[in-house]
Amino acid sequence: MTFELTAVVPSRGFDVTLDVDEGSTLALLGPNGAGKSTALGLAAGTLRPHDGEITLDGTRLAHARAGRTEAWVAPHRRRVALLAQDPLLFPHLSIRDNISFGPRAQGRPRREAAAAAARWLDAMDLVHLADRRPGALSGGQGQRVAIARALAAAPRLLLLDEPLAALDVDVTPALRQTLRRLLVGQTTIIATHEVLDALLLADEVAVVDDGRVVERGPTAEVLSRPRSAFAASIAGLNLVSGTWTGDGVVTASGGVVHGYASHPEVPVGAAMTAVFRPAAVALHLTDPHGSPRNTFRGTVRSVEPRGDLLRVRTDQLAADVTPQAVAELSLVPGRAVVGTVKAAEVDVYPV
């Protein structure tokens, strides 16, 4: 069973078709105002489609034709939980009561709700904060409570609206890993403008622009080989998968990419993916002297404009280089080049 949405909202210039397989996560990737929040609002029931149909596990949540609503399930009956950028914890309730709010509101017995709260407090390492009020929490703690509260409501579909965007950079990696662990088996849509969220949390990515889905596919494919120019402009990462050696990733074909792990306790031999941005890649015609630790020999496949730079694709990677460099090196399709990237520019994640 799945979540399926086909909806037109003319007042917001929105016309999108989406679906999410049961237990999987879809990332809506796009800039602010692209229509990500509209998609989430339609799923949550805070917005009505002008035309379209939204179904979850075979239940019709909304159905409208030419502005006339023909079927409508109220937001509280949808089992669609929403987690926003701000934790929005109920300030008058303790952390424990915030987490048990969903089960209680759904009419489950007090003891059952308390047990669910206790379980989530433990799972999210929040036991020591259980009886505090939300006002005393840091941003990262607040968002952990908000995640626990959303999942304690046992949603059939979880909506994450830029869940990490309001947090300090030093707490986002840990929280992203926590989400990654919790989203296994949970049907989820995550709206984000951060490529890393899509890379680490989503099975599939839909790139959204101006109220339309411009590209859709498995995460690694969309991020590393975007077909449309727009997707390339916001996605476009070099991904190299392999196993962790302690200071890099060794691929199936034996190549090694040196880089730094996202967190220190990764065991040697773990499946990891090295990630680096096209702008971090330098191109040469011959092996350079000195010691950039990663070199990729390949053949130029295409050259496309990308803002002030040109994106050069070889059979192995994408590089953003200046037009001068392209002219100097005569980078045309078929030419053999060597791409180099410093180990410091390579982040390694468990993907």
């Binding site: 029931g45 509280h76 929005l88 109920f90 840091s138 959303a150 409501a153 909506l159």
Partner: protein, 277 residues
């Protein structure tokens, strides 16, 4: 974990003595002090005119006790009526989406700016014996004008806007974001109202209720016009004060002081409760 966020509801904060206020010109203290004196001086003056020796017998005379009891009873009933009608009104005005909402919001304010006497005449036109609804109500055996019910209606009419305006403002400030989250967790609209919305606007609700009660307690013009001045039936404390002023000025002063004491007590009580939340 370095980001600390301000709690979503504003809390009373004590001013840090190290902070220097900006945007407070020195000269503002002079008219501000004059304004404070203007409010306090008459109240203090009232205290100096009280016949303290005879105070107890003055405020416990039969007519005084009847007026006080009637005032407390009608003001409490009016406040309850204001809550029953005003909370849904504030909700609909703050959250509802329908044409004419802004016009309605302005119309609700009319009793706030209307002279109370005019309010009384308007109420007579509606509920009086010869009023719009009065005749059909009389057929049903209901006679409202010049009864205790009329006192409650007059007080509710003038007090309702205080509750609605205060609560509607609080609802708008609180916004709907918490309500949306609560609904997404499975809470029905009534549960959202009970467990999230009302607790969030609690200080606004309390202050609105207190304002409504105080306004009901002090009601004079609409009451005397619509309900008359019958001892024990419609003669509330303000009416009693006004009547006694003609015949027994000492009693009028004593009762006035009583009303001041009740007002100060009510405000003090809710101020503390609001601060402790």
């Amino acid at each position: 974990m370095t980001t600390t966020r301000a709690p979503a509801t504003s809390r009373r904060t004590t001013r840090d003595p190290a902070e220097v206020p900006a945007g407070l010109p020195r000269w503002a203290y002079v008219p501000a002090a004059a304004g404070g004196l203007f409010v306090l001086l008459p109240l203090v003056a009232l205290g100096t005119r009280v016949d303290w020796a005879g105070y107890w017998s003055l405020v416990t005379s039969e007519s005084s006790r009847a007026a006080l009891a009637l005032s407390l009873q009608t003001a409490t009933t009016s406040t309850l009526l204001c809550l029953i009608l005003g909370v849904p009104m504030a909700l609909v005005l703050a959250r509802g989406r329908f044409p004419g909402r802004d016009l309605l919001r302005s119309l609700v304010l009319v009793p706030l700016v209307l002279p109370p006497v005019v309010g009384g005449i308007a109420l007579l036109s509606a509920f009086g014996r010869r009023g719009l609804l009065g005749e059909s109500m009389e057929v049903l055996g209901l006679q409202v004008a010049f009864s205790t019910t009329a006192v409650v209606l007059a007080q509710s009419f003038v007090a309702l806007p205080f509750l609605v305006v205060s609560l509607e403002g609080a609802l708008r400030t609180a916004g709907e974001r918490y309500d949306v989250v609560a609904a997404s967790l499975g809470a029905s609209p009534t549960t959202v109202l009970r467990r999230v919305t009302l607790p969030l606007v609690w200080p606004g609700l309390v202050s609105g209720t207190v304002l409504a009660f105080a306004r009901a307690l002090g009601e004079f013009g609409a009451t005397i016009t619509f309900a008359g001045s019958l001892q024990g039936v419609t003669r509330t404390l303000p009416l009693e004060v006004y009547l006694q002023r003609e015949t027994d000025p000492d009693a009028a002063v004593a009762l006035s002081l009583l009303l001041v004491a009740v007002a100060v007590a009510v405000i003090g009580l809710t101020h503390r409760r609001g601060a402790s939340r």
